[in-house]
Assembly symmetry: C2
Homo-oligomer: 715 residues x 2
């Protein structure tokens, strides 16, 4: 940690623009906020709460008590009241909560709330429980410390979301995620006012749901890691208590290897099958006609993915029963069927399927996929469930009540988009956006925040979007740091007005959110620190952290493709995922503090800022020497040794640049060119990580900060 | 963190005595170990395991895979095999595991194992699954890092426990403990070869078990925090998978307020009742005849604890049904009924109970308690459950199959022991020891390690003991740091031969265990760091940590009594427990490293050691200045401000003492006396915490390290 952080104002009241000031520490920024410049509300042991609402609104009362307890713990004031209950709820109070209708966890209900904080009291009004829950989160984010005491600023907030569907998708098939980790993610979602958890429960690598109808699904379709029905129901309730709807995804007809481990008769090709990455299945069944190269393009093109047989009536009987069972667990009105990435290879290799298609006059496997999707749609409809699918379900015969989820970025040979979210909407379908919101490709938060795909999604059929975390190379340990705090930037994009787009202020609030999530128990910081201890074998981690705090994972799919195409597939369930690239965050807080200070210094030439920068640069310069013994003691740390040397060299260049500025020298073009050439080298990926602060050193050399790149290569 | 830690050898091979060397990093120390001085076994990606055992021994296979995965993750070697399964288990392997009988989780079975590590391979042999599980933990503790690679030392171990009952009691009534936290504690227990989790599930403050027979028990008897039956069964299985038996405790006839919230008719006095501390009930029902002082002695003497009515036949019908329900959840052959701390006041205040006693010719409420205990004993016996009770069940008419758990330390007016564990054993009862193993009174680990009460417990009726963690002032956040790593010292006392008693070596291994537990996911370090961040409001924690790393909570019951007797009881369920005294550990790792270095320096006068000490002292001296702004910004930190000044002053004295030694000065008695007087002041408790490194500064002044105190006042 660096003293630079102290520059970040606790409340937006020091040397920041008025737009930023009004955003305080709130994430997402409310649609309307007025900050009074005078006065504040003080939290005391007598902090009292009164609720005017349906006395049976258990979701509301539980949320009020959670908010109250969080403040009690944060302030350590030992509030005199223990619990806010309907019966104890009489007389005037400092915080009055009024809720008109007992409703939450449904898409499209009124989620607005208004909040007024004066020096004397706080009032929260909401038409629904859902709105009140959001308002309670705003109260938590407003509460701040000053001196030894805690306050809320005096504000008037009228808030409502821009989009009605603000989701997070978590893939628990590739790597299993524990129930407790899921709960912590739900808590974090609630903090940023998200309302849908899209739970990717099945895939080739694992079937994570206990089925009593078809017990071989979880027994043979997983490595033993699955949720019991009691646990599934527990999480559904946990989410509902926080105003969050869980939408289960059962991916089909492809991505279905784990189903076939127990029920191979449902597949298009004979088994045996066992859960695992698709590439594993390919490796197990070598076909001499396929190229022996391991390029990712060849894998995608020639992969024979285990796929449901759409011509087999037993498949639909099976799915009908299975869906019936799942609807007793998941009350939400939506079921996601995936339907992505089916290249049709498994069908083409089965002569009977090809004969069936011919009989039905189907020309392409895409038509067969349409047939399958329609049949599954009808099974869901019978159970009052709306079908959601990834954009590959989209075609001109798709039933109009289906919801289409956009995800594909054009990838040349690799991927082919079916349209934009707005095109789907214009053609009469409710649509969702996940393109540009994929958290698993290691982009910094501002890339998602500025996601261009959200532009033009103004059709009323467009519902909103979802951040998506696939877990080929994420597991229970690094997952929270992969998702958070970045998902907060997506949440803000989906909640706040489009005009809220100041990246610097977003980052100020994002790192604040990170601390808030840590306070409420999220493990992103703890697991990072634990991983650093493991990497140093419990020796002091200070030097290592100075380096890793300014490293980010290599951006895009490079890291995944590298692991997938190794002889022993390194995306497997038991892969350690304990390298530096696995544990560093996609946004470096130190980088953003440094960037802010560089920008301010270049503008103001302030000696205090200069001192801060010099101190930081000296720390980086001197860090490499201290790390040398560590590189000798750890093969994993040796992978990033070059970055340490580069950080040293970059810091030396930065110090020289400041010397030049300080001395009032004119820019020396030759010197600048020489340094910039070196700095370009330092930007290269090493050990699947990138050194984040090079652009800011360039700025010191150039005496001008370049704008952030608008995008980075995905493939 | 300090570089001093680097002095701790990774494997016991540098400048430590041969006894220590042979203990390696193992905790508990095996009963027999031979270390070969040459050679070692290298872990590689091809690390292979073969199991010769009952193919249906799911507990064994799961444990083998956990061990295998832990090594895979620790080494990041990407082992070629994913899972060790009975079917894949053919051919020669590097590690061969042979188990003769599929048995674990029962008291009294053979828990021995033998382990032989050569340069080429490892063999683990055990008569039972239980023994094999212990051997797998030994393998994990043996694996160490050297350079960039991982090895096991070449050893021959023949190991078996000293006592058959090695337990940990966790109170989840006073403060609820989450299911996941319970799981992590079970993992930690398994790491130190404990075999009994004694789960204190009910008390005045909360009824933590879902009852379908009597749903008002959990519904009105808790604040909503309880385990569902599905969760209870999940934990029983989780423990059994790790060779650990769960013994549930339902405390009665006293400590029973939470039962009566829903079923007041079972109590000796009319209600209404609600769950909460006993003192709360007293405060709610003021009796003018009782003194108005809030001394702890008065509280204990005059407290009217809600207590079952032993004269009411409906009570036994109720308990019979309840026990019947619980036996479907807890398969263990033991049920703990508590039966502690019943002062009889509730019975004396009920004339009908007094009349009943008279009719039955009972002279004292103790006799009535005997009657109650006997009736409950019979209910348990009917269900094939052996009754365990705290020592208050002990009397000459107690059925001989009862097990008596010793806990009471003589506390003058406050507590009165009923005998010693060995006396109970000599009189024909199986007995257990918890006196001296109470973790909740903030003693350093060596006090428990040297527990004098274990001496003389050589009767064959003596089963073993249990560390005990009561939770009046512990919650889900500070619990892991309250229990661990200290419980490891108790585990060693109960497993290893009595001759294993080197305190310095125990601490070396204890802090090593702490890191191992952190690696496997225990939250003690993470929660400490999170609490520090909260205390600094997310400003850098380095300075604060330099201080808090050498603070420990005030020892004994002082802190609890202080909180209990505040007008608003601060032990309540929702108490923040977020002060410095709530989060610092009972053993300071920095203190022990410093102590080791002071001892070595005074013996050797080595300049390298001198440099280390001076560096440490300068860090402490200079720390106070950096902390000043923090004291202004936090009321909780201001509570320990004096310690910071004292640490500065003590460091100044230490530096002067070293100067004197270095200059070859003779001891100056007047100067010494003056310094020692000041140092005595610094030992005083401030903000319910104590400064741990004062004795070592005294040693530098005296040029001689005093022995550790044999005990500290409890009351």
């Amino acid at each position: 940690m660096s003293n630079l952080f102290l520059l970040i104002p606790l409340v937006g009241c020091v040397s920041i623009s008025s737009a930023q000031q009004n955003s305080l520490n709130l994430m997402p920024v409310p649609s309307n906020i007025e900050v009074q410049q005078q006065g504040r509300f003080a939290l005391t042991p007598g902090f009292s709460v009164s609720v005017n609402a349906d006395k049976n609104d258990a979701v509301l009362y539980a949320a009020v008590n959670r908010m109250y307890q969080t403040l009690n713990r944060r302030t350590s004031l030992y509030f005199k009241t223990q619990y806010i209950t309907p019966s104890a709820n009489t007389g005037p109070a400092q915080l009055t909560i009024t809720v008109h209708s007992n409703a939450a966890g449904e898409i499209g209900i009124d989620e607005s709330y208004s909040l007024k904080v004066t020096e004397q009291n706080i009032s929260l009004n909401a038409p629904t429980t859902a709105g009140a829950l959001h308002g309670l989160q705003t109260i938590l984010q407003l509460a701040y410390k000053d001196g030894g005491a805690f306050y809320l600023p005096t504000v008037t907030i009228n808030d409502a979301p821009r989009f009605k569907w603000r989701g997070l998708m978590i893939d628990v098939a590739r790597h299993f995620v524990s129930l407790d980790e899921m709960k912590r993610n739900i808590d974090a979602m609630a903090a940023v006012k998200m309302n849908v958890l899209h739970w990717h429960l099945t895939d080739d690598e694992g079937f994570r749901v206990e089925s009593k109808q078809f017990p071989l699904l979880h027994k043979l379709g997983s490595n033993g890691d699955y949720y019991t029905q009691a646990q599934l129901k527990e999480l559904v309730k946990y989410a509902a208590d926080r105003g969050i709807m869980i939408v289960p995804e059962f991916d089909m007809p492809g991505h279905a290897q784990s189903w076939f481990a127990g029920y191979p008769e449902l597949a298009s090709l004979p088994g045996p099958y066992r859960p695992g990455p698709r590439t594993q299945w390919q490796n197990d069944n070598p076909d001499p006609s396929r190229p022996s190269t391991r390029s990712i393009g060849d894998l995608i093109k020639y992969m024979v993915s285990p796929t449901f047989d759409p011509t087999n009536e037993d498949v639909y009987k099976f799915l009908d029963k299975f869906v019936g069972e799942m609807t007793t667990i998941f009350p939400s009105g939506y079921v996601h069927i995936g339907a992505d990435e089916n290249n049709g290879m498994a069908w083409k290799l089965n002569p009977e399927i090809m004969a069936w298609m011919k009989k039905k006059e189907m020309q392409t496997t895409d038509e067969l996929q349409r047939h399958f999707v329609k049949r599954v749609h009808d099974i869901l409809k019978k159970r009052d469930r709306r079908m959601i699918g990834w954009e590959e379900i989209y075609n001109d015969k798709l039933p109009k009540d289906a919801i289409v989820q956009k995800w594909i970025t054009d990838g040349g040979d690799l991927t082919h988009p079916r349209g934009t979210a707005n095109e789907f909407a214009s053609n009469g379908y409710n649509s969702l956006l996940s393109e540009g919101f994929y958290l698993d490709i290691f982009m910094p938060a501002y890339i998602h925040y500025n996601n261009p795909a959200i532009n033009g999604t103004d059709h009323s059929n467009f519902l909103g979007g979802e951040a998506a975390q696939w877990t080929e190379i994420a597991n229970n340990e690094n997952l929270p740091g992969r998702i958070w705090p970045r998902a907060g930037a997506v949440a803000e994009r989906l909640w706040s007005p489009a005009s809220v787009n100041d990246v610097d202020d977003m980052y100020r609030r994002l790192f604040n959110l990170s601390n808030q999530l840590d306070e409420q128990g999220l493990q992103h910081l703890s697991n990072y620190e634990r991983a650093l201890r493991r990497l140093t074998n419990n020796a002091p981690t200070d030097n290592l952290r100075t380096l890793t705090d300014v490293l980010t994972p290599a951006k895009g799919y490079k890291k995944l493709f590298a692991k997938m195409t190794k002889p022993a597939n390194q995306t497997q369930q038991t892969a350690p995922l304990a390298d530096v690239s696995d544990i560093v965050f996609c946004d470096s807080e130190v980088k953003w503090a440094f960037r802010r200070n560089v920008a301010a210094y270049l503008e103001l030439k302030d000696p205090a800022l200069e001192n801060l920068l010099v101190k930081q640069l000296i720390k980086w310069r001197d860090n490499d020497a201290g790390l040398q013994p560590y590189f000798q003691r750890s093969a994993q740390l040796a992978l990033i040794k070059q970055h340490s040397a580069n950080l040293h060299d970059a810091a030396v260049i930065g110090l020289a640049a400041i010397e030049n500025i300080k001395a009032g020298n004119q820019p020396d073009a030759a010197w600048q060119k020489e340094q910039l050439k070196k700095l370009t080298e330092y930007k290269k990926s090493v050990g699947e990580t990138e050194l984040e602060i090079v652009s800011e050193i360039e700025a010191l050399v150039n005496r001008k900060l370049s704008p952030l790149p608008a995008s980075f290569p995905v493939f």
